[in-house]
């Protein structure tokens, strides 16, 4: 398995499909505790990314792909998710800018940089019921897997599993950031839409690696 620009493009292509498929699900989660646009926002952004994917030059590295994703999400998603995901991909792109193929350490670097970007922009802490609650467990799980000598696919799977568990674990929480924070106790029992879309993205990363 070889995680380079080809994998990155395939991941993003798969992510675009996944966002389309889960558009309504994400809208519905956001209707419950937000304003009902998250699925539409993610779908709009990833469709725009998809349209630009073929234009990424053949000699580009995975960092170039992620940078295009970042700028496109920033300029097409809007809302809270646009800048947050945009920053995540931008920081990830910078962190792996010099790589052509990503080994386990680079994957952990990528995920960590992405998560740090989200925290930098959004100032959310773990447990605030945001996408951070998917990303931080994912980063931790990926780091642990890599330290334990897991291969790339296993690292990504660990990240995706942890992100899904993290998204699920937002359900009992009260939100402290984003729109759901207006709801107080009434947010309890609902999953955070951004955490869910984050888990979908990371699952797509692992699935793409498995196909490779």
């Amino acid at each position: 398995m070889n995680l380079g620009a080809t994998w990155a493009k395939a991941w993003i292509r798969n992510s675009a499909d996944v966002m389309s498929e889960h558009r309504i699900e994400l809208i519905d989660l956001d209707r419950e505790i937000g304003d009902g646009d998250h699925g539409e926002n993610m779908d709009r952004g990833f469709q725009a990314v998809l349209a630009k994917l073929d234009a990424v030059p053949a000699e580009a590295g995975p960092g170039d792909v992620l940078k295009m994703v970042a700028t496109t999400l920033i300029s097409t998603v809007g809302g809270a998710a646009g800048p947050l995901y945009g920053t995540a991909f931008l920081k990830a792109a910078i962190a792996i800018a010099d790589k052509t193929d990503l080994d386990g350490a680079a994957l952990v670097t990528l995920l960590t940089a992405a998560r740090d970007g989200i925290v930098l922009r959004g100032k959310a802490e773990s447990g605030d019921k945001t996408m951070v609650d998917a990303w931080t467990p994912a980063v931790d799980a990926a780091g642990a897997a890599q330290a334990a000598g897991a291969d790339d696919l296993a690292i990504l799977r660990a990240a995706a599993d942890a992100a899904e568990a993290g998204a699920l674990a937002t359900e009992p929480l009260v939100a402290h950031k984003g729109r759901a924070s207006y709801l107080g106790e009434r947010a309890i029992g609902h999953r955070d839409p951004g955490a869910q879309s984050s888990a979908l993205l990371l699952r797509a990363a692992a699935d793409t690696a498995a196909e490779a």
């Binding site: 646009d37 097409t76 729109r179």
Partner: protein, 333 residues
Amino acid sequence: MKKLVNDPKNVVNEAVAGFGAAHADLVRVSTDPIFIVRKDAPVAGKVGIVSGGGSGHEPMHGGFVGPGMLDAAVPGAVFTSPTPDPILAATKAVDGGAGVLHIVKNYTGDVLNFETAADLAAADGVEVRSVLVNDDVAVKDSLYTAGRRGVAGTVLVEKIAGAAADRGDDLESVALVAERVIGQVRSMGVALTPCVVPHAGQPSFTLAEDEIEIGIGIHGEPGRERIKLEPADAIVDRLLGPILDDIPFVAGDKVLLFVNGMGGTPQVELYIVFRRAAEVLAERGIEVTRTLVGNFTTSLEMQGMSITVLKLDDELTTLWDAPVQTAALRWGR
């Protein structure tokens, strides 16, 4: 969902095009990226004022573009803050050399996207100041929330800041006036029915035939509490209490009383609300010296309203009274 739309994805494009065609005497419209500027922008030597946010709150903000109020409005997708690109483009389009004020409603998405645009504008040599409107007392302003939301009070901030820029105040002064309004304006709303975001095709929330949502936001976000329908006067009292206690407003204050329709409520009801609100203020010895009633900060077709109270002083009153010439607010010319 029944709406007068074509493809739901084109709602904002087509509405902005229609707006531009209907108000060609006041505004120009850019289609890519989408923003609305006053026809004669940039006005040399005048501070430019830009606001924006998700669509679906019309006439806010496009309806407030024109002499005496906004220089540009940047509409995002429905209920979704615009991205930095159109904010940046609008900022540059209205920079007459005296800098640009961004009036931002306090939502994570608006804050982040305007922040990026401001950084990019600064990098391109445009001086930008931002103010954050957060008038909604339904939300606790605590470390454990994203802070109070910006709602209908935004209209008053935009009008008064616009008048300050119009009389020639510099960027710092315009920002200070805007911040003074923000410090003195409080709002709270109620929903009787939900709204339907075109791309979602389903109501943002559901309310039983006898339920209302107190403390509703302007994006169909659920509010503070859900209660049984009450007479209008009782509902007004529920909203006015937290508003008046917040700053607080006290006997002897002069205020602007603003009853804002959420989009789907008939005007008769807004005036029934106004009547009671004015009565309560009079009982408390608070003098209503300026008024505004109508659909200004809406939430698509949502039925409901919000009440906004702004503490006035002579300067703010003069700026409120100053001429304004926009599609939705117009007097003095």
